[in-house]
Protein backbone atom coordinates (compact mmCIF):
# COMPACT_ATOMS: atom_id res chain seq x y z
CA UNK A 1 0.00 0.00 0.00
CA UNK A 2 1.68 3.19 -1.20
CA UNK A 3 -0.48 6.21 -1.83
CA UNK A 4 1.38 8.95 -3.70
CA UNK A 5 -1.22 11.65 -3.17
CA UNK A 6 -4.25 12.76 -5.19
CA UNK A 7 -4.58 11.07 -8.56
CA UNK A 8 -8.09 11.91 -9.66
CA UNK A 9 -8.37 15.08 -7.60
CA UNK A 10 -4.84 16.28 -8.30
CA UNK A 11 -5.94 19.40 -10.14
CA UNK A 12 -8.64 20.38 -7.65
CA UNK A 13 -7.39 22.46 -4.67
CA UNK A 14 -8.12 21.30 -1.11
CA UNK A 15 -9.30 24.79 -0.17
CA UNK A 16 -12.90 25.22 -1.40
CA UNK A 17 -12.37 28.96 -1.88
CA UNK A 18 -9.67 28.23 -4.47
CA UNK A 19 -11.67 25.79 -6.54
CA UNK A 20 -12.80 26.72 -10.00
CA UNK A 21 -13.64 24.93 -13.22
CA UNK A 22 -10.55 23.67 -15.02
CA UNK A 23 -11.00 24.42 -18.67
CA UNK A 24 -9.23 22.81 -21.63
CA UNK A 25 -6.30 25.24 -21.68
CA UNK A 26 -5.49 24.75 -18.00
CA UNK A 27 -6.02 21.02 -18.28
CA UNK A 28 -3.49 20.77 -21.09
CA UNK A 29 -1.08 23.11 -19.29
CA UNK A 30 -1.00 20.69 -16.36
CA UNK A 31 -0.23 17.68 -18.57
CA UNK A 32 -3.74 16.87 -19.70
CA UNK A 33 -4.38 14.92 -22.93
CA UNK A 34 -0.68 13.97 -23.11
CA UNK A 35 -1.68 10.42 -22.21
CA UNK A 36 -4.25 10.39 -24.99
CA UNK A 37 -1.50 11.35 -27.42
CA UNK A 38 0.67 8.55 -26.03
CA UNK A 39 -2.17 6.03 -26.26
CA UNK A 40 -2.81 6.83 -29.90
CA UNK A 41 0.71 5.60 -30.72
CA UNK A 42 0.15 2.26 -28.99
CA UNK A 43 -1.72 -0.75 -30.39
CA UNK A 44 -5.23 -0.74 -28.91
CA UNK A 45 -4.75 -4.25 -27.53
CA UNK A 46 -1.80 -3.01 -25.44
CA UNK A 47 -3.99 -0.44 -23.72
CA UNK A 48 -6.61 -3.06 -22.90
CA UNK A 49 -3.88 -5.28 -21.47
CA UNK A 50 -2.55 -2.43 -19.33
CA UNK A 51 -5.99 -1.84 -17.87
CA UNK A 52 -6.45 -5.54 -17.15
CA UNK A 53 -3.02 -5.76 -15.50
CA UNK A 54 -3.68 -2.66 -13.39
CA UNK A 55 -6.49 -4.43 -11.57
CA UNK A 56 -8.84 -1.50 -12.10
CA UNK A 57 -12.31 -2.50 -10.91
CA UNK A 58 -15.45 -0.61 -11.78
CA UNK A 59 -16.03 2.44 -9.60
CA UNK A 60 -19.80 2.63 -10.06
CA UNK A 61 -20.67 0.20 -7.30
CA UNK A 62 -20.35 -3.33 -8.66
CA UNK A 63 -16.55 -3.45 -8.91
CA UNK A 64 -16.34 -5.60 -12.04
CA UNK A 65 -12.80 -5.70 -13.55
CA UNK A 66 -12.77 -2.96 -16.17
CA UNK A 67 -10.24 -4.41 -18.62
CA UNK A 68 -11.96 -7.81 -18.55
CA UNK A 69 -15.30 -6.17 -19.39
CA UNK A 70 -13.68 -4.55 -22.41
CA UNK A 71 -12.62 -7.97 -23.73
CA UNK A 72 -16.25 -9.08 -23.89
CA UNK A 73 -16.79 -7.01 -27.03
CA UNK A 74 -17.01 -9.41 -29.97
CA UNK A 75 -14.11 -9.01 -32.39
CA UNK A 76 -14.78 -7.31 -35.69
CA UNK A 77 -18.39 -6.38 -34.96
CA UNK A 78 -19.10 -2.69 -35.60
CA UNK A 79 -20.34 -0.16 -34.68
CA UNK A 80 -19.58 -0.41 -30.99
CA UNK A 81 -20.73 2.08 -28.40
CA UNK A 82 -19.45 3.32 -25.07
CA UNK A 83 -22.02 4.47 -22.55
CA UNK A 84 -20.61 6.53 -19.70
CA UNK A 85 -22.70 6.08 -16.58
CA UNK A 86 -23.01 9.53 -15.06
CA UNK A 87 -26.45 8.82 -13.67
CA UNK A 88 -25.14 8.81 -10.07
CA UNK A 89 -28.45 8.53 -8.24
CA UNK A 90 -27.45 6.19 -5.40
CA UNK A 91 -28.37 8.06 -2.18
CA UNK A 92 -25.29 9.35 -0.35
CA UNK A 93 -23.20 9.35 -3.55
CA UNK A 94 -21.90 12.54 -5.07
CA UNK A 95 -18.32 11.84 -6.20
CA UNK A 96 -18.79 11.89 -9.96
CA UNK A 97 -20.66 15.18 -9.75
CA UNK A 98 -17.81 16.74 -7.81
CA UNK A 99 -15.14 15.48 -10.18
CA UNK A 100 -16.89 16.74 -13.30
CA UNK A 101 -17.89 20.01 -11.73
CA UNK A 102 -14.25 21.05 -11.50
CA UNK A 103 -12.25 18.72 -13.76
CA UNK A 104 -14.49 17.38 -16.55
CA UNK A 105 -11.59 16.78 -18.93
CA UNK A 106 -10.06 14.00 -16.85
CA UNK A 107 -13.11 11.90 -17.64
CA UNK A 108 -13.14 13.01 -21.29
CA UNK A 109 -9.52 11.96 -21.69
CA UNK A 110 -10.39 8.57 -20.18
CA UNK A 111 -13.29 8.28 -22.63
CA UNK A 112 -11.06 9.13 -25.60
CA UNK A 113 -8.45 6.54 -24.60
CA UNK A 114 -11.08 3.86 -23.91
CA UNK A 115 -12.78 4.64 -27.22
CA UNK A 116 -9.51 4.18 -29.13
CA UNK A 117 -8.64 1.02 -27.23
CA UNK A 118 -12.00 -0.52 -28.13
CA UNK A 119 -12.68 1.00 -31.56
CA UNK A 120 -15.76 2.81 -30.32
CA UNK A 121 -17.90 4.74 -32.79
CA UNK A 122 -20.10 6.79 -30.43
CA UNK A 123 -19.64 7.52 -26.76
CA UNK A 124 -22.77 8.63 -24.95
CA UNK A 125 -22.33 10.33 -21.58
CA UNK A 126 -25.59 9.65 -19.75
CA UNK A 127 -25.84 12.40 -17.13
CA UNK A 128 -28.74 12.48 -14.71
CA UNK A 129 -31.33 15.18 -15.30
CA UNK A 130 -30.98 16.76 -11.85
CA UNK A 131 -27.32 17.69 -12.53
CA UNK A 132 -28.29 20.85 -14.42
CA UNK A 133 -25.15 22.86 -13.67
CA UNK A 134 -22.85 19.93 -14.37
CA UNK A 135 -24.69 19.25 -17.65
CA UNK A 136 -23.84 22.73 -18.92
CA UNK A 137 -20.24 22.37 -17.72
CA UNK A 138 -19.96 19.02 -19.48
CA UNK A 139 -21.48 20.28 -22.73
CA UNK A 140 -18.95 23.14 -22.76
CA UNK A 141 -16.09 20.75 -22.01
CA UNK A 142 -17.16 18.37 -24.79
CA UNK A 143 -17.30 21.31 -27.20
CA UNK A 144 -13.79 22.35 -26.14
CA UNK A 145 -12.67 18.79 -26.79
CA UNK A 146 -14.23 18.80 -30.27
CA UNK A 147 -12.66 22.19 -31.04
CA UNK A 148 -9.26 20.74 -30.18
CA UNK A 149 -9.51 17.50 -32.11
CA UNK A 150 -10.07 15.18 -29.16
CA UNK A 151 -13.44 14.00 -30.50
CA UNK A 152 -14.83 13.93 -34.00
CA UNK A 153 -11.64 12.43 -35.40
CA UNK A 154 -10.76 9.01 -36.75
CA UNK A 155 -9.14 6.41 -34.54
CA UNK A 156 -5.63 6.03 -36.01
CA UNK A 157 -5.43 3.06 -38.33
CA UNK A 158 -9.19 2.82 -38.82
CA UNK A 159 -12.02 4.51 -40.72
CA UNK A 160 -14.02 4.95 -37.51
CA UNK A 161 -14.75 8.55 -36.56
CA UNK A 162 -15.28 8.79 -32.81
CA UNK A 163 -18.04 11.07 -31.55
CA UNK A 164 -18.93 11.87 -27.98
CA UNK A 165 -22.39 13.11 -27.03
CA UNK A 166 -24.04 14.13 -23.77
CA UNK A 167 -27.46 12.57 -23.16
CA UNK A 168 -29.44 14.09 -20.32
CA UNK A 169 -31.59 11.83 -18.16
CA UNK A 170 -34.91 12.90 -16.69
CA UNK A 171 -35.08 11.73 -13.10
CA UNK A 172 -35.00 7.97 -12.62
CA UNK A 173 -32.65 6.07 -10.29
CA UNK A 174 -33.14 2.90 -12.30
CA UNK A 175 -31.47 4.54 -15.31
CA UNK A 176 -28.22 4.09 -13.41
CA UNK A 177 -28.67 0.35 -13.86
CA UNK A 178 -26.69 -0.41 -17.01
CA UNK A 179 -29.56 -1.84 -19.05
CA UNK A 180 -31.99 0.76 -17.68
CA UNK A 181 -29.52 3.35 -18.94
CA UNK A 182 -29.50 1.76 -22.39
CA UNK A 183 -33.29 1.83 -22.53
CA UNK A 184 -33.35 5.51 -21.56
CA UNK A 185 -30.66 6.20 -24.15
CA UNK A 186 -32.84 4.59 -26.79
CA UNK A 187 -35.76 6.84 -25.83
CA UNK A 188 -37.89 4.31 -23.98
CA UNK A 189 -38.96 3.94 -20.37
CA UNK A 190 -36.01 2.87 -18.29
CA UNK A 191 -36.98 -0.74 -17.69
CA UNK A 192 -33.88 -2.91 -17.14
CA UNK A 193 -33.40 -5.82 -19.47
CA UNK A 194 -32.85 -9.40 -18.50
CA UNK A 195 -29.26 -10.58 -19.02
CA UNK A 196 -28.13 -12.47 -21.13
CA UNK A 197 -27.79 -11.00 -23.69
CA UNK A 198 -25.13 -8.84 -22.02
CA UNK A 199 -24.58 -5.28 -23.22
CA UNK A 200 -21.14 -6.16 -24.58
CA UNK A 201 -22.88 -8.38 -27.11
CA UNK A 202 -26.19 -6.56 -27.61
CA UNK A 203 -26.37 -3.21 -25.85
CA UNK A 204 -27.35 0.23 -27.11
CA UNK A 205 -29.45 -0.06 -30.27
CA UNK A 206 -28.70 -3.82 -30.18
CA UNK A 207 -24.99 -3.18 -30.88
CA UNK A 208 -22.00 -4.19 -28.73
CA UNK A 209 -21.76 -1.67 -25.91
CA UNK A 210 -19.53 -1.16 -22.90
CA UNK A 211 -20.85 0.75 -19.94
CA UNK A 212 -18.31 2.32 -17.60
CA UNK A 213 -18.65 4.66 -14.62
CA UNK A 214 -17.25 8.20 -14.73
CA UNK A 215 -14.58 7.51 -12.11
CA UNK A 216 -13.46 4.27 -13.73
CA UNK A 217 -12.73 6.14 -16.97
CA UNK A 218 -11.03 8.96 -15.07
CA UNK A 219 -8.48 6.41 -13.78
CA UNK A 220 -7.36 5.44 -17.31
CA UNK A 221 -4.96 8.36 -18.03
CA UNK A 222 -3.02 7.60 -14.83
CA UNK A 223 -2.66 3.94 -15.79
CA UNK A 224 -1.35 4.88 -19.25
CA UNK A 225 1.08 7.39 -17.73
CA UNK A 226 2.48 5.37 -14.86
CA UNK A 227 1.82 1.79 -15.86
CA UNK A 228 -0.23 -0.98 -14.25
CA UNK A 229 2.32 -1.64 -11.49
CA UNK A 230 2.07 1.89 -10.10
CA UNK A 231 -1.72 1.64 -10.03
CA UNK A 232 -1.57 -1.76 -8.36
CA UNK A 233 0.87 -0.42 -5.78
CA UNK A 234 -2.04 1.57 -4.34
CA UNK A 235 -4.77 -0.16 -2.43
CA UNK A 236 -4.86 -3.86 -1.54
CA UNK A 237 -4.26 -7.04 -3.55
CA UNK A 238 -7.94 -7.38 -4.38
CA UNK A 239 -8.66 -3.67 -4.68
CA UNK A 240 -6.10 -1.68 -6.64
CA UNK A 241 -5.90 2.03 -7.03
CA UNK A 242 -7.23 5.27 -5.59
CA UNK A 243 -10.88 5.89 -4.77
CA UNK A 244 -13.01 8.98 -4.53
CA UNK A 245 -14.91 8.89 -1.24
CA UNK A 246 -17.70 11.35 -0.55
CA UNK A 247 -18.30 11.69 3.18
CA UNK A 248 -21.64 13.02 4.44
CA UNK A 249 -23.93 12.85 7.44
CA UNK A 250 -22.84 13.58 10.99
CA UNK A 251 -19.27 14.68 10.21
CA UNK A 252 -17.59 18.03 10.60
CA UNK A 253 -16.27 18.38 7.07
CA UNK A 254 -18.53 16.67 4.56
CA UNK A 255 -17.14 16.56 1.04
CA UNK A 256 -15.39 14.45 -1.59
CA UNK A 257 -11.92 13.21 -0.73
CA UNK A 258 -9.51 10.73 -2.25
CA UNK A 259 -7.32 8.03 -0.78
CA UNK A 260 -6.28 4.53 -1.71
CA UNK A 261 -8.63 1.59 -1.40
CA UNK A 262 -8.29 -0.26 1.88
CA UNK A 263 -8.24 2.80 4.14
CA UNK A 264 -10.30 2.07 7.26
CA UNK A 265 -13.54 4.03 7.41
CA UNK A 266 -12.73 5.50 10.81
CA UNK A 267 -9.36 6.73 9.55
CA UNK A 268 -10.98 8.22 6.45
CA UNK A 269 -13.47 10.16 8.55
CA UNK A 270 -10.80 11.35 10.95
CA UNK A 271 -8.18 12.25 8.35
CA UNK A 272 -10.43 14.04 5.86
CA UNK A 273 -13.93 14.39 7.33
CA UNK A 274 -12.98 16.30 10.46
CA UNK A 275 -14.18 13.47 12.68
CA UNK A 276 -17.67 12.37 13.67
CA UNK A 277 -20.11 14.92 15.11
CA UNK A 278 -21.09 13.23 18.33
CA UNK A 279 -20.64 9.51 18.90
CA UNK A 280 -20.54 7.06 15.96
CA UNK A 281 -23.40 4.61 15.82
CA UNK A 282 -23.79 3.31 12.28
CA UNK A 283 -22.76 4.10 8.72
CA UNK A 284 -23.84 3.42 5.17
CA UNK A 285 -20.35 2.99 3.77
CA UNK A 286 -21.04 2.95 0.03
CA UNK A 287 -24.50 4.22 -0.79
CA UNK A 288 -27.61 2.80 0.87
CA UNK A 289 -27.84 -0.31 -1.33
CA UNK A 290 -24.84 -1.93 0.31
CA UNK A 291 -26.49 -2.07 3.72
CA UNK A 292 -25.28 -0.64 6.98
CA UNK A 293 -22.13 -1.10 9.08
CA UNK A 294 -22.69 -1.79 12.76
CA UNK A 295 -21.49 0.08 15.82
CA UNK A 296 -18.46 -2.19 16.17
CA UNK A 297 -17.58 -2.01 12.45
CA UNK A 298 -16.32 1.56 12.16
CA UNK A 299 -12.77 0.39 11.38
CA UNK A 300 -13.83 -1.59 8.30
CA UNK A 301 -11.31 -1.15 5.47
CA UNK A 302 -12.88 0.46 2.43
CA UNK A 303 -12.10 -2.16 -0.21
CA UNK A 304 -13.93 -4.73 -2.30
CA UNK A 305 -13.57 -7.44 0.38
CA UNK A 306 -15.71 -5.46 2.81
CA UNK A 307 -18.78 -7.45 1.77
CA UNK A 308 -17.80 -10.86 2.98
CA UNK A 309 -15.89 -9.63 6.02
CA UNK A 310 -18.46 -7.21 7.40
CA UNK A 311 -21.78 -8.62 6.31
CA UNK A 312 -22.68 -6.03 3.69
CA UNK A 313 -23.42 -6.37 -0.01
CA UNK A 314 -20.09 -4.93 -1.16
CA UNK A 315 -18.08 -1.73 -1.34
CA UNK A 316 -20.58 0.08 -3.54
CA UNK A 317 -19.71 3.67 -4.35
CA UNK A 318 -17.50 3.98 -1.24
CA UNK A 319 -19.27 7.21 -0.27
CA UNK A 320 -19.96 6.89 3.46
CA UNK A 321 -22.77 8.56 5.36
CA UNK A 322 -22.06 8.56 9.07
CA UNK A 323 -24.89 8.37 11.61
CA UNK A 324 -24.32 9.25 15.25
CA UNK A 325 -26.15 8.00 18.31
CA UNK A 326 -28.97 10.57 18.04
CA UNK A 327 -30.12 8.84 14.88
CA UNK A 328 -33.48 7.10 14.75
CA UNK A 329 -32.49 4.06 12.69
CA UNK A 330 -36.07 2.92 12.20
CA UNK A 331 -36.80 6.25 10.48
CA UNK A 332 -33.64 5.92 8.40
CA UNK A 333 -34.65 2.42 7.33
CA UNK A 334 -38.04 3.76 6.36
CA UNK A 335 -36.29 6.50 4.38
CA UNK A 336 -34.30 3.92 2.42
CA UNK A 337 -37.26 1.66 1.74
CA UNK A 338 -39.36 4.65 0.71
CA UNK A 339 -36.65 5.41 -1.82
CA UNK A 340 -36.74 1.88 -3.25
CA UNK A 341 -40.53 1.74 -3.29
CA UNK A 342 -40.58 5.02 -5.19
CA UNK A 343 -37.79 4.20 -7.61
CA UNK A 344 -38.82 0.62 -8.37
CA UNK A 345 -39.49 0.51 -12.09
CA UNK A 346 -42.38 -1.88 -11.46
CA UNK A 347 -41.51 -4.78 -13.75
CA UNK A 348 -40.90 -7.44 -11.12
CA UNK A 349 -43.49 -8.33 -8.55
CA UNK A 350 -41.17 -9.07 -5.59
CA UNK A 351 -39.60 -5.59 -5.94
CA UNK A 352 -42.71 -3.60 -6.84
CA UNK A 353 -44.98 -5.16 -4.26
CA UNK A 354 -42.32 -6.15 -1.73
CA UNK A 355 -40.82 -2.68 -1.35
CA UNK A 356 -44.31 -1.16 -1.01
CA UNK A 357 -45.28 -3.67 1.69
CA UNK A 358 -41.99 -3.12 3.52
CA UNK A 359 -42.64 0.63 3.38
CA UNK A 360 -46.10 0.20 4.89
CA UNK A 361 -44.72 -1.96 7.70
CA UNK A 362 -41.98 0.56 8.46
CA UNK A 363 -44.52 3.40 8.42
CA UNK A 364 -46.52 1.47 10.96
CA UNK A 365 -43.45 1.09 13.14
CA UNK A 366 -42.44 4.74 12.91
CA UNK A 367 -45.97 5.75 13.87
CA UNK A 368 -45.97 3.44 16.87
CA UNK A 369 -48.29 0.77 15.51
CA UNK A 370 -45.61 -1.87 14.94
CA UNK A 371 -46.38 -5.47 15.78
CA UNK A 372 -43.87 -8.01 17.03
CA UNK A 373 -44.37 -10.21 13.99
CA UNK A 374 -43.51 -7.25 11.75
CA UNK A 375 -39.79 -7.89 12.15
CA UNK A 376 -40.00 -11.43 10.83
CA UNK A 377 -42.38 -10.31 8.10
CA UNK A 378 -39.98 -7.54 7.06
CA UNK A 379 -37.09 -9.98 6.92
CA UNK A 380 -39.12 -12.45 4.87
CA UNK A 381 -40.11 -9.77 2.35
CA UNK A 382 -36.55 -8.51 2.10
CA UNK A 383 -34.91 -11.89 1.62
CA UNK A 384 -37.34 -12.84 -1.14
CA UNK A 385 -36.36 -10.10 -3.54
CA UNK A 386 -33.32 -9.55 -5.72
CA UNK A 387 -30.96 -11.07 -8.24
CA UNK A 388 -29.25 -13.04 -5.49
CA UNK A 389 -32.40 -14.92 -4.47
CA UNK A 390 -33.08 -15.04 -8.21
CA UNK A 391 -36.48 -13.36 -8.27
CA UNK A 392 -35.91 -10.05 -10.09
CA UNK A 393 -34.43 -8.73 -13.32
CA UNK A 394 -32.08 -6.21 -11.73
CA UNK A 395 -30.30 -5.43 -8.50
CA UNK A 396 -32.49 -2.61 -7.14
CA UNK A 397 -34.32 -5.21 -5.12
CA UNK A 398 -31.01 -6.48 -3.75
CA UNK A 399 -30.47 -3.00 -2.34
CA UNK A 400 -33.83 -3.18 -0.57
CA UNK A 401 -32.96 -6.66 0.61
CA UNK A 402 -29.61 -5.67 2.11
CA UNK A 403 -30.85 -2.53 3.84
CA UNK A 404 -33.57 -4.53 5.60
CA UNK A 405 -31.26 -7.45 6.31
CA UNK A 406 -28.34 -5.48 7.73
CA UNK A 407 -30.54 -3.12 9.74
CA UNK A 408 -32.44 -5.98 11.37
CA UNK A 409 -29.34 -8.09 11.94
CA UNK A 410 -27.17 -5.35 13.37
CA UNK A 411 -29.73 -3.09 15.08
CA UNK A 412 -32.60 -5.32 16.07
CA UNK A 413 -32.91 -3.75 19.55
CA UNK A 414 -33.72 -0.37 17.92
CA UNK A 415 -36.67 -1.93 16.16
CA UNK A 416 -37.81 -3.93 19.17
CA UNK A 417 -37.78 -0.76 21.27
CA UNK A 418 -40.16 0.93 18.85
CA UNK A 419 -42.53 -1.99 18.99
CA UNK A 420 -42.49 -2.50 22.74
CA UNK A 421 -42.70 1.10 23.92
CA UNK A 422 -45.37 2.79 21.83
CA UNK A 423 -47.12 -0.16 20.30
CA UNK A 424 -50.86 0.04 20.18
CA UNK A 425 -51.35 -3.67 20.12
CA UNK A 426 -54.57 -5.20 19.04
CA UNK A 427 -55.78 -2.22 17.05
CA UNK A 428 -56.28 -3.16 13.43
CA UNK A 429 -55.96 -0.36 10.92
CA UNK A 430 -57.75 -1.12 7.69
CA UNK A 431 -58.01 0.59 4.35
CA UNK A 432 -60.80 -0.60 2.08
CA UNK A 433 -61.32 -3.65 4.25
CA UNK A 434 -57.69 -4.70 4.04
CA UNK A 435 -55.51 -4.62 7.12
CA UNK A 436 -52.40 -2.45 6.68
Amino acid sequence: MAYPGPVLLKRIPDDPAQRELIRYADYVASGGYAMLKKSLTMPPGDIVKMVIDSGLRGRGGAGFPCGTKWTFLPKDLHPRYLAVNFDESEPCTFKDRYLCEYDPHIMLEGIAIAAYANSITNSYIFIRGEYHKQFHILEDAVKEAYDNGIFGVKHPGTEIVHNCYVHKGAGAYICGEETGLLEALEGKRGWPRIKPPFPAVAGAFAKPTIINNVETLACIPYIVENGPAAFKAMGTPSSAGPKLMGISGHVNKPGVYEDELGIPLSKLVEKYGGGVKGKYKAAFHGGISMGVLGTDQFDAPMDFDIGKKYGVLGLGTACPTIMNDTTDLVRMTRNCIRFYAHESCGQCTPCREGSAWAYKILNRMVEGRGKTKDLDLLMEIGLAQGIMPGTTICGLADGTNWVIKTMLQKFRPDFEKVIKSDAVQGVEVTVGGVSV
Binding site: C92, R97, A170, G171, Y173, F205, T321
Partner: protein, 184 residues
Amino acid sequence: MAWIAQNRLQPLEPTRAEPYLTDAIKQKISEKYFPRYPTKRACMLPLFHEVMHTYGFIAPQAMDEAAAFLEISPSEVQDAVSFYEEFRFDKTGTYVVNVCRSLACELLGHEKILQKIRDVFGIDPGETTDDHKITVLEVECLGACEFAPCALINEDLHGPLTPDGFVKTLQSLPAEAKHDASTH
Protein backbone atom coordinates in the same frame (compact mmCIF):
# COMPACT_ATOMS: atom_id res chain seq x y z
CA MET B 1 -78.75 3.36 -9.90
CA ALA B 2 -76.99 6.14 -11.66
CA TRP B 3 -73.77 6.12 -13.55
CA ILE B 4 -71.88 9.34 -13.93
CA ALA B 5 -70.31 8.96 -17.31
CA GLN B 6 -67.41 11.06 -18.51
CA ASN B 7 -67.64 12.49 -21.98
CA ARG B 8 -64.71 10.83 -23.75
CA LEU B 9 -65.75 11.86 -27.22
CA GLN B 10 -64.09 15.19 -26.63
CA PRO B 11 -60.40 15.27 -25.73
CA LEU B 12 -59.72 16.15 -22.11
CA GLU B 13 -57.84 19.23 -23.19
CA PRO B 14 -58.98 21.21 -26.22
CA THR B 15 -56.57 21.02 -29.16
CA ARG B 16 -54.96 24.31 -29.83
CA ALA B 17 -54.21 25.53 -33.34
CA GLU B 18 -50.67 26.57 -32.50
CA PRO B 19 -48.43 23.49 -32.28
CA TYR B 20 -46.40 22.78 -29.16
CA LEU B 21 -43.57 21.47 -31.30
CA THR B 22 -42.76 24.72 -33.04
CA ASP B 23 -40.63 24.84 -36.16
CA ALA B 24 -37.80 26.17 -34.02
CA ILE B 25 -37.94 23.20 -31.66
CA LYS B 26 -38.21 20.73 -34.53
CA GLN B 27 -35.30 22.32 -36.30
CA LYS B 28 -33.13 22.25 -33.22
CA ILE B 29 -33.87 18.59 -32.59
CA SER B 30 -33.35 17.55 -36.20
CA GLU B 31 -30.12 19.46 -36.57
CA LYS B 32 -28.54 18.79 -33.23
CA TYR B 33 -29.93 15.43 -32.10
CA PHE B 34 -31.05 13.34 -35.06
CA PRO B 35 -27.46 12.86 -36.31
CA ARG B 36 -26.37 11.54 -32.93
CA TYR B 37 -28.40 8.37 -32.79
CA PRO B 38 -29.27 5.53 -35.16
CA THR B 39 -33.00 5.99 -34.41
CA LYS B 40 -35.27 9.04 -34.17
CA ARG B 41 -36.86 7.54 -31.10
CA ALA B 42 -33.62 8.05 -29.15
CA CYS B 43 -34.29 11.80 -29.34
CA MET B 44 -37.26 11.31 -26.99
CA LEU B 45 -35.51 12.63 -23.88
CA PRO B 46 -33.77 15.60 -25.54
CA LEU B 47 -37.06 16.55 -27.23
CA PHE B 48 -39.08 16.50 -24.06
CA HIS B 49 -36.42 18.37 -22.13
CA GLU B 50 -36.93 21.07 -24.74
CA VAL B 51 -40.71 20.91 -24.32
CA MET B 52 -40.42 21.09 -20.52
CA HIS B 53 -38.03 23.98 -20.75
CA THR B 54 -40.32 25.91 -23.09
CA TYR B 55 -43.71 25.22 -21.54
CA GLY B 56 -43.03 23.82 -18.06
CA PHE B 57 -45.38 20.88 -18.63
CA ILE B 58 -46.27 18.29 -21.28
CA ALA B 59 -49.70 18.51 -22.90
CA PRO B 60 -51.33 15.48 -24.55
CA GLN B 61 -51.19 17.38 -27.83
CA ALA B 62 -47.43 17.78 -27.43
CA MET B 63 -47.11 14.01 -27.13
CA ASP B 64 -49.19 13.47 -30.28
CA GLU B 65 -47.04 15.95 -32.18
CA ALA B 66 -43.88 14.29 -30.87
CA ALA B 67 -45.14 10.91 -32.05
CA ALA B 68 -45.59 12.23 -35.57
CA PHE B 69 -42.20 13.95 -35.46
CA LEU B 70 -40.33 10.88 -34.18
CA GLU B 71 -42.35 8.55 -36.41
CA ILE B 72 -43.59 6.28 -33.64
CA SER B 73 -47.01 5.75 -32.10
CA PRO B 74 -48.46 8.17 -29.49
CA SER B 75 -48.75 5.35 -26.97
CA GLU B 76 -45.02 4.68 -27.21
CA VAL B 77 -44.37 8.35 -26.53
CA GLN B 78 -46.66 8.35 -23.52
CA ASP B 79 -45.09 5.09 -22.31
CA ALA B 80 -41.66 6.67 -22.25
CA VAL B 81 -42.57 10.16 -21.06
CA SER B 82 -44.76 9.01 -18.16
CA PHE B 83 -41.83 7.11 -16.66
CA TYR B 84 -39.61 10.05 -15.83
CA GLU B 85 -39.92 12.24 -12.74
CA GLU B 86 -38.86 15.45 -14.47
CA PHE B 87 -41.51 15.23 -17.18
CA ARG B 88 -44.67 16.63 -15.67
CA PHE B 89 -48.17 16.64 -17.10
CA ASP B 90 -49.51 19.24 -14.70
CA LYS B 91 -48.63 22.89 -14.69
CA THR B 92 -46.38 24.21 -11.97
CA GLY B 93 -45.55 27.59 -10.53
CA THR B 94 -42.81 29.90 -11.76
CA TYR B 95 -40.37 28.21 -9.41
CA VAL B 96 -40.26 24.47 -8.93
CA VAL B 97 -38.63 23.75 -5.58
CA ASN B 98 -37.37 20.18 -5.36
CA VAL B 99 -36.47 19.39 -1.74
CA CYS B 100 -34.31 16.30 -1.36
CA ARG B 101 -35.77 13.67 0.97
CA SER B 102 -33.15 10.91 0.77
CA LEU B 103 -30.97 9.59 3.55
CA ALA B 104 -28.38 12.30 4.22
CA CYS B 105 -30.95 15.09 3.86
CA GLU B 106 -33.54 13.47 6.13
CA LEU B 107 -30.74 12.72 8.60
CA LEU B 108 -29.84 16.41 8.65
CA GLY B 109 -33.37 17.75 8.90
CA HIS B 110 -35.22 18.10 5.59
CA GLU B 111 -38.52 17.61 7.42
CA LYS B 112 -37.96 20.86 9.32
CA ILE B 113 -37.49 22.65 6.00
CA LEU B 114 -40.78 21.26 4.69
CA GLN B 115 -42.58 22.13 7.92
CA LYS B 116 -41.36 25.73 7.75
CA ILE B 117 -42.54 25.96 4.14
CA ARG B 118 -45.89 24.60 5.27
CA ASP B 119 -46.09 27.19 8.06
CA VAL B 120 -45.13 30.18 5.92
CA PHE B 121 -46.49 29.38 2.45
CA GLY B 122 -49.31 27.04 3.42
CA ILE B 123 -48.44 24.31 0.92
CA ASP B 124 -47.52 20.64 1.20
CA PRO B 125 -45.13 18.87 -1.19
CA GLY B 126 -46.96 18.52 -4.49
CA GLU B 127 -48.86 21.79 -4.12
CA THR B 128 -48.47 25.27 -5.59
CA THR B 129 -48.98 28.63 -3.88
CA ASP B 130 -52.14 30.51 -4.87
CA ASP B 131 -50.13 33.18 -6.67
CA HIS B 132 -48.60 30.42 -8.85
CA LYS B 133 -45.16 31.45 -7.80
CA ILE B 134 -43.82 28.39 -5.99
CA THR B 135 -44.44 24.67 -6.35
CA VAL B 136 -42.84 22.48 -3.69
CA LEU B 137 -41.96 18.88 -4.47
CA GLU B 138 -40.06 16.17 -2.66
CA VAL B 139 -37.37 14.53 -4.73
CA GLU B 140 -34.92 11.69 -4.18
CA CYS B 141 -31.17 12.08 -3.68
CA LEU B 142 -29.85 15.07 -5.62
CA GLY B 143 -26.24 13.91 -5.36
CA ALA B 144 -25.19 16.87 -3.21
CA CYS B 145 -25.01 15.18 0.18
CA GLU B 146 -22.17 17.38 1.38
CA PHE B 147 -24.69 20.25 1.28
CA ALA B 148 -27.44 18.37 3.10
CA PRO B 149 -30.22 19.29 3.56
CA CYS B 150 -30.42 20.63 0.03
CA ALA B 151 -32.96 21.61 -2.62
CA LEU B 152 -33.17 22.71 -6.23
CA ILE B 153 -34.96 25.92 -7.11
CA ASN B 154 -35.53 25.32 -10.82
CA GLU B 155 -32.00 24.49 -11.95
CA ASP B 156 -30.05 26.01 -9.05
CA LEU B 157 -28.87 23.98 -6.09
CA HIS B 158 -29.18 25.46 -2.61
CA GLY B 159 -27.67 23.97 0.52
CA PRO B 160 -26.96 23.41 3.36
CA LEU B 161 -30.40 24.82 4.15
CA THR B 162 -31.81 26.17 7.37
CA PRO B 163 -35.59 26.50 7.70
CA ASP B 164 -35.56 30.29 8.20
CA GLY B 165 -32.80 30.91 5.65
CA PHE B 166 -34.51 28.90 2.93
CA VAL B 167 -37.88 30.54 3.49
CA LYS B 168 -36.16 33.94 3.16
CA THR B 169 -34.58 32.79 -0.11
CA LEU B 170 -37.98 31.69 -1.42
CA GLN B 171 -39.66 34.92 -0.35
CA SER B 172 -37.06 37.02 -2.11
CA LEU B 173 -37.32 35.22 -5.45
CA PRO B 174 -38.21 37.71 -8.21
CA ALA B 175 -41.63 37.38 -9.85
CA GLU B 176 -40.09 36.38 -13.18
CA ALA B 177 -37.67 33.48 -13.28
CA LYS B 178 -34.51 34.16 -15.21
CA HIS B 179 -35.13 32.14 -18.33
CA ASP B 180 -32.22 30.60 -20.10
CA ALA B 181 -33.36 30.53 -23.73
CA SER B 182 -30.87 27.94 -24.86
CA THR B 183 -31.33 24.71 -23.02
CA HIS B 184 -29.21 21.90 -24.23
